[in-house]
Structures are given as structure tokens and as C-alpha cells.
């Protein structure tokens, strides 16, 4: 009768009759777990999420077309000012409507709402007047720099803006999310870019119009965009993209074509690539991972 060798145990203190390089079958696979938190991406929800990026890009394209027209003096600054004022009032109206409809029961008191409106009116008048008084300064700010550097600088700053912008959405009411550093950086980059571009314009009024338009598009409009709900998002994206193409087409059809390509790629091609790349996902978890302590 042969003595049975006891089964191999995964302990170090026992003197086991197995060689040191012995590893039982399947021991390795049983310790690791592959892709335990894997939630696969599906195509259409990703497309919906990428709409925010498309809107942002469309806004930037619109801004660039407006700038080129202002520089060529084909667009009267006064028209631009009135259009942007109109957009501002429309936007503020939409914001108020949204706040009213999305308000949870027993919202803020009437008095504080009026207080808020007065504060908004005060700050908008303040910004308006401040921009108007600063525009002569801004016009000559980078006048000495050559145009090539200006285009390069502006392109880099807009790129920074696109990369760091906050593309999330929050439809809950009265949620003042603390601004992250990256979204503040991206807003600053956009405003700096428009200031730098404004120095190429010829009259103070044009500078004022451009800066005011940029402040509106890159600081106020993203806030409104985040609050809109899903069906409105798709409509808005469509409207913005079409207007950017319409504005760009008379200036240069190549550029308009490029804009169209970029918008389509971001909206439809990029999610497809992401879904395709899922098959390379290889997350390994096992007893060697650093544990996360849970304290009450």
C-alpha cells in the first residue's frame, strides 16, 4: 500500500512533499479575475454623450467665422452686438424657464429669486460697461506681435480649451458644482484666445463686439448647455452645426468641408472606434491588489 501524498496547500509554513516549482493546474487562473468591472459600451448612448463635444466645437467654429468676417469688415460690429444681446436675452429667458420647470417642490422664496435677478442684471451691466471701456486697451494689447504668432497662439489656446472643457451635464436643480481647475483653465484659454485675436481688428467697436460675443459663447453658453435636456440637446447640436457651416461656407468652402468632417468624425466615428477598441480591454484583478480600506 503506497502512502498517499497529501494534497498541495497554498501555505508557506508547512513542509510539503512537493518541489518548490510545483504549481497545480488551474491555480493561476483561479486567483485572477479578468475584467470584473467591465460594462461594455454601446454605440448610440456614446453618440448622445459626444453631442456635448460637437456643440462645443460648433460654437468655436461659429466664433472663428464671425472673427474672420469682422476682420474683413464684411460684418458690421453693431449688427453683431445687437445679435449677441438678443441671444443673451433669449438665453436668460430659457434659463429662467428651466429653473422654473426643474425646481423641486418648495423651492427658493420669491424674495430671493428677485434678489438673484437684480444681482444678475447688475453683473451683466457691469461686464458690459467694463468691456466697453477696456476695448481700446485690448485692441492695442498685442498689436506689436506679428500675425503668424497670433494665429498659432490662438490655435493652441483653442486646443487647450477643447481638451480641458467640462463636457458633463447636470439636469438637477440648484446644484452649484464647485468648478474644477480644468474647466476654469479652459474658459481662461478661450477668453485669452479671443483677446489675442481681437488685436487684429481695426476699430474699437469691433473689438468690443468680438470680446462680448466670446464671453457669451464660452462662459455663459456652456452653463446653459449643461442644463438642457436630451431631446433639446440633439436639436441644438444640429442647429449649431448647420449655422457654423453656413457661416463658414461663403468664406472658404475647403474650411467648411473640414468643419463638416471634424463634426461628423467626433459625433459618429469616435464612438465607433471606442466600441471597437473594447475587445482589447484586459483588466486583471487578484489578491495582489492594494485593498481599499472602508471606514464608516
Amino acid at each position: 500500500m503506497s502512502t498517499k501524498i497529501p494534497p498541495w496547500e497554498k501555505v508557506l509554513w508547512k513542509n510539503q512533499p512537493y518541489p518548490d516549482n510545483y504549481i497545480p493546474e488551474g491555480a493561476l487562473e483561479s486567483s485572477l479575475r479578468k475584467n470584473p468591472n467591465f460594462k461594455p459600451y454601446t454605440y448610440w448612448p456614446l453618440v448622445h454623450l459626444s453631442i456635448a463635444i460637437t456643440q462645443h466645437l460648433a460654437t468655436i467654429f461659429i466664433f472663428l467665422s464671425v472673427f474672420v468676417r469682422l476682420k474683413d469688415r464684411s460684418l458690421d460690429p453693431r449688427v453683431l452686438i445687437s445679435v449677441s444681446l438678443g441671444c443673451f436675452f433669449v438665453g436668460y429667458f430659457v434659463w429662467e424657464v428651466l429653473q422654473y420647470t426643474q425646481r423641486s417642490g418648495g423651492g427658493s422664496k420669491h424674495g430671493s429669486k428677485r434678489n438673484e435677478r437684480v444681482k444678475t442684471l447688475k453683473s451683466s451691466i457691469l461686464i458690459f460697461l467694463a468691456l466697453m471701456s477696456l476695448s481700446p486697451v485690448l485692441r492695442t494689447l498685442s498689436a506689436a506681435t506679428s500675425s503668424d504668432s497670433i494665429w498659432a497662439l490662438s490655435a493652441c489656446l483653442f486646443l487647450l480649451n477643447i481638451l480641458l472643457a467640462d463636457y458633463g451635464s447636470s439636469s438637477s436643480v440648484a446644484q452649484v458644482r464647485p468648478e474644477r481647475l480644468t474647466s476654469v483653465l479652459s474658459m481662461n484659454a478661450a477668453i485669452s484666445s479671443s483677446v489675442v485675436l481681437a488685436s487684429r481688428l481695426s476699430s474699437d467697436l469691433a473689438v468690443f463686439a468680438l470680446i462680448q460675443f466670446s464671453v457669451q459663447s464660452f462662459t455663459l453658453f456652456p452653463m446653459l448647455r449643461r442644463r438642457l435636456q436630451v431631446p433639446m440637446q440633439a436639436l441644438l447640436t444640429f442647429a449649431l452645426s448647420i449655422s457654423s457651416l453656413i457661416l463658414a461656407a461663403p468664406l472658404s468652402s475647403t474650411i467648411a468641408f473640414l468643419f463638416l468632417l471634424v463634426l461628423l468624425a467626433i459625433t459618429f466615428l469616435a464612438p465607433a472606434v471606442l466600441v471597437w477598441a473594447q475587445k482589447y480591454k484586459n483588466e486583471i484583478r487578484g489578491p495582489w491588489d492594494v485593498a481599499v480600506p472602508k471606514v464608516n
Partner: protein, 452 residues
């Protein structure tokens, strides 16, 4: 096995103190006692520790001039070590090098260069790493490149072996369906050991207070958050408990704040940093050792505490479940409630007198012994020396299989390394080197080491 010359290569050695350093020293001392010749190659610590030194018991240490970047590790590079290594290995007639620690670039370079001189290679991995963050991805790729052509790999625990095999790609996919992972046959598990004579239990004292000892670097990785969360609960639930916390680190402030908040100044004593020689005197003041670390490849501190007769409470992470039998250790999941449950269990066990420190010491003495570890390591060396060394073409084909980009890059490094070696053979020929010859009698050294 006939005596061979072994070179231990690591960035981490005396005078730095730590697990890897102690391991290398004790392993070298025991191998010398068994009759082999051992040298250690490490980087210098200017201004004092430079040049060549001798440590008892006849261990020659080469301190090479390399600049360290962070916590004792040198900058990873591929060629600057070759001239030194070639000279040392040829002078000392080294047969086999043993590299330690994945973070030691001297070790990786040693493995890369040794085959040019016909020297065999063994690698020991002491720690666990993840797979996800950017630093891990890069270090794992470097490790896979190094371990592609190593002769043997030793890990200190079974969990460590699985981790190293997955990181260093030491497996092949078998052809069955579904494809299984077949681990290479040259990966061994040889645990660490400790010198049990230095951790004798203290005299038994009958007293009502039970002292819980915590001795670790006070950092996030050591789970100090769990200690901070559970200590007030334990002190409130068991009025006869005292804590003794030794060690220093960034989380000391959290402990001090917790102590202030719950007014536990008389229940929690903070000892500050403890030297390794004084660790035993701290251990014998307590009856329970608490370890809350979030990751632990082997846990030598736990063993030292168990050897000194303490009952251990630890989180179930990494290689900890493998080191002690169930009746000497209580495990907890890394959350506050489970740690509290485990500590209560330990306290009730110890108050009932069910844990015998002397018996625990005897058991740990038998489980982990440096002589056994050195014998097992010697068997690995024997297997390596008997096997045939891979020739250059075999190495190049194996290296190319690393990946579409990593393969060619590493192969280029390998080939440039060969060319550099040929250049050195011409520039610093072997005939002009001073060879080292031993005039000592090893038996006399063996009797000198019998005290260790």
C-alpha cells in the same frame, strides 16, 4: 553540491535597513557557511560608503559609483553597468548572479549582461505590484524584458509567484481549448525566514491589561486609516486594553489627532521610530500584534511578532494568509467592522489564556529557518548550473516575441550590448586583470558564523 561563486546584485543593501537588505545578508551568510563564495554588488552611498568593504562572515561588498534617484534606487539604464560588472565577474570567477527586487535597476542590468560572460542568472522578487497605473505598466514591461531570458525566478510567497508570473509573462498559452496558462517550470517559491534567536518571547507576566502592539511605517499603504478608525472603538469596548504604536511616517498626525479627539492619551502610547535592534523589546511588552496593511507580499513583521510570542491580528491581503496557521493568527477584511471583530476575537482568546507564547515561538522557529531557505536556494542554483545556457540566437528569438514594438527595441539593446562587450574585451583584456584568489580556510569562517 560543489562550491560555486555567487554574486548578489541589488540596489538595496547595508547600510540601508529593510526586508530586502536583511534577506540578502542572511542568505549570503548561510551560503558562505555552506561552503560557497558570495560577493555583493550594490551602489555606493557617498561620502562614506564607497569602494570595497568586507562584512562578517567573509562577505565582500562592492560599492559602485551610481547616483540614486529615489529611496535608494538608481536610474534605470542598460549599458553603464557593463564595464564594472564584467570586471568584477571575471576577477572573482563568478559562476552565478542572483539579482533581487524588481525596483533594482542594477539587478536587471546584471541579468541582461551576465550571459555574455557565461554566468548564470537567478532573480528574486520581493514585492507585489498592480497592473493599472502608468508606473506599473512601464515597470512591468521592463520586467518582462528582463525575465525573458533569466534562468530561474524565486518568489517569496505563492501570491507573489502568481503576481510575478502575470507581470513578467512567464507563462505560455497551451494549445488546448480553452487555452490554459502553463507557468514555466523555472519559477520557485522560497519564503523568507527570520533569525528566531533574536525574537525570543519575554517572561510571562500575569496582568489584567492586554497590550496591543502596532509597529510599522505610518503610511497609507500600511492601513493606518483602519487603525485610526478602530482604535477608539476597541478602547471603548474593552477597558483593559492599551495600545503601543511604534514607527514614524506621514500618518503620525492622524494618529495624534485621533488620540486628542477621544482623549486616549493614557491608553495609546506612541513610541516614535524604533531601531531594528530594539524591536524585540517592544514586542515583549505586548500580547497581541495588529497589522492593518492594505498590501503585503510576505509580511516579515508579522512573523517576527509571532516568533516573539504575540498573537497576530491582520488584514487578509496579499501573501499574509499563507504565512501562519489559523490558530496563531486572526484574519480580517480591510474594513473597520471586520477589523474590530477580529481584534475582539483575539482579545477574548488571549484573556482566556488560550495562546501560549513559548509554544508559538517553537513553532515559528521550525517553520521558518534560514538554513532551510539557504538549502532550497542552493537546490535552485544546482538546477540552474546543471541546465544548459541558452545561446545567443535563442535569446534573440525569445526577445523578439515580447511584442510588436518592445521585441525589436529589446533585441537592439541586446545586440548593442554584445558589441559593447566585444569592445571591452579588446580595450580591457582579460589577461591584464587582477584575479582574486582565496587563501582562507572556509572551515574557520564556518566556525565564526556558527553564532548567527
Amino acid at each position: 553540491m560543489e562550491p560555486i561563486s555567487i554574486a548578489m546584485i541589488a540596489d538595496f543593501f547595508h547600510p540601508d535597513v529593510g526586508g530586502v537588505e536583511g534577506h540578502i545578508y542572511m542568505l549570503s551568510a548561510n551560503l558562505i557557511r555552506m561552503g560557497h563564495k558570495v560577493i555583493v554588488i550594490t551602489h555606493s552611498r557617498p561620502p562614506d560608503r564607497v569602494g570595497i568593504r568586507w562584512l562578517l562572515p567573509g562577505l565582500k561588498v562592492y560599492y559602485l559609483p551610481f547616483v540614486t534617484i529615489a529611496s535608494g534606487a538608481t536610474l534605470p539604464n542598460f549599458f553603464t553597468f557593463l564595464p564594472y560588472l564584467r570586471t568584477i565577474l571575471i576577477r572573482e570567477h563568478v559562476h552565478l548572479i542572483h539579482a533581487h527586487a524588481s525596483l533594482s535597476s542594477l539587478g536587471h542590468e546584471g541579468i541582461l549582461h551576465s550571459h555574455l560572460m557565461g554566468v548564470r542568472t537567478v532573480f528574486t522578487d520581493h514585492s507585489l505590484f498592480g497592473f493599472e497605473d502608468a508606473a506599473s505598466i512601464l515597470t512591468n514591461k521592463l520586467l518582462a524584458g528582463t525575465l525573458r531570458n533569466v534562468d530561474a525566478v524565486i518568489c517569496v510567497s505563492h501570491t507573489g509567484r502568481e503576481n510575478t508570473v502575470l507581470r513578467g509573462e512567464l507563462f505560455e498559452q497551451s494549445e488546448d481549448d480553452p487555452p490554459r496558462l502553463v507557468v514555466s517550470s523555472n519559477v520557485y517559491v522560497i519564503p523568507n525566514a527570520l533569525v528566531s534567536k533574536r525574537f525570543q518571547p519575554g517572561l510571562l507576566q500575569k496582568s489584567d491589561t492586554i497590550t496591543i502592539v502596532v509597529l510599522s511605517r505610518l503610511a497609507y499603504r500600511k492601513g493606518i486609516d483602519l487603525l485610526v478608525a478602530t482604535a477608539p472603538r476597541i478602547c471603548a469596548a474593552f477597558p483593559n486594553i492599551r495600545f503601543l504604536v511604534g514607527g514614524d511616517g506621514p500618518k503620525l498626525i492622524d494618529l495624534l489627532q485621533m488620540r486628542e479627539k477621544y482623549l486616549l492619551q493614557d491608553r495609546i502610547e506612541l513610541l516614535g521610530p524604533i531601531k531594528h535592534n530594539d524591536v524585540r523589546s517592544v514586542f515583549i511588552r505586548g500580547s497581541i500584534y495588529m497589522n492593518t496593511s492594505l498590501t503585503e507580499s510576505f509580511g516579515i513583521a508579522i512573523l517576527e511578532a509571532a516568533c516573539a510570542g504575540l498573537y497576530v491580528v491582520s488584514t487578509r491581503v496579499g501573501g499574509v494568509p499563507e504565512i501562519l496557521p489559523e490558530d496563531m493568527i486572526s484574519f480580517a477584511d480591510p474594513n473597520e467592522d471586520d477589523v474590530f471583530r477580529a481584534v475582539s476575537e483575539a482579545i477574548s482568546l488571549v484573556s482566556a489564556g488560550k495562546h501560549d507564547p513559548i509554544k508559538a515561538h517553537e513553532r515559528v522557529k521550525r517553520f521558518y529557518d534560514w538554513t532551510q531557505v539557504a538549502e532550497r536556494t542552493e537546490r535552485v542554483y544546482h538546477t540552474v548550473m546543471k541546465s544548459e545556457q541558452r545561446d545567443l540566437w535563442d535569446r534573440i528569438t525569445r526577445t523578439m516575441r515580447l511584442g510588436r514594438y518592445a521585441g525589436p527595441i529589446y533585441s537592439i539593446i541586446l545586440l548593442v550590448d554584445c558589441l559593447f562587450f566585444l569592445f571591452l574585451e579588446w580595450w580591457m583584456p582579460r589577461e591584464d586583470m587582477d584575479f582574486v584568489t582565496h587563501h582562507w580556510n572556509h572551515r574557520r569562517f564556518a566556525s565564526a558564523t556558527r553564532g548567527l
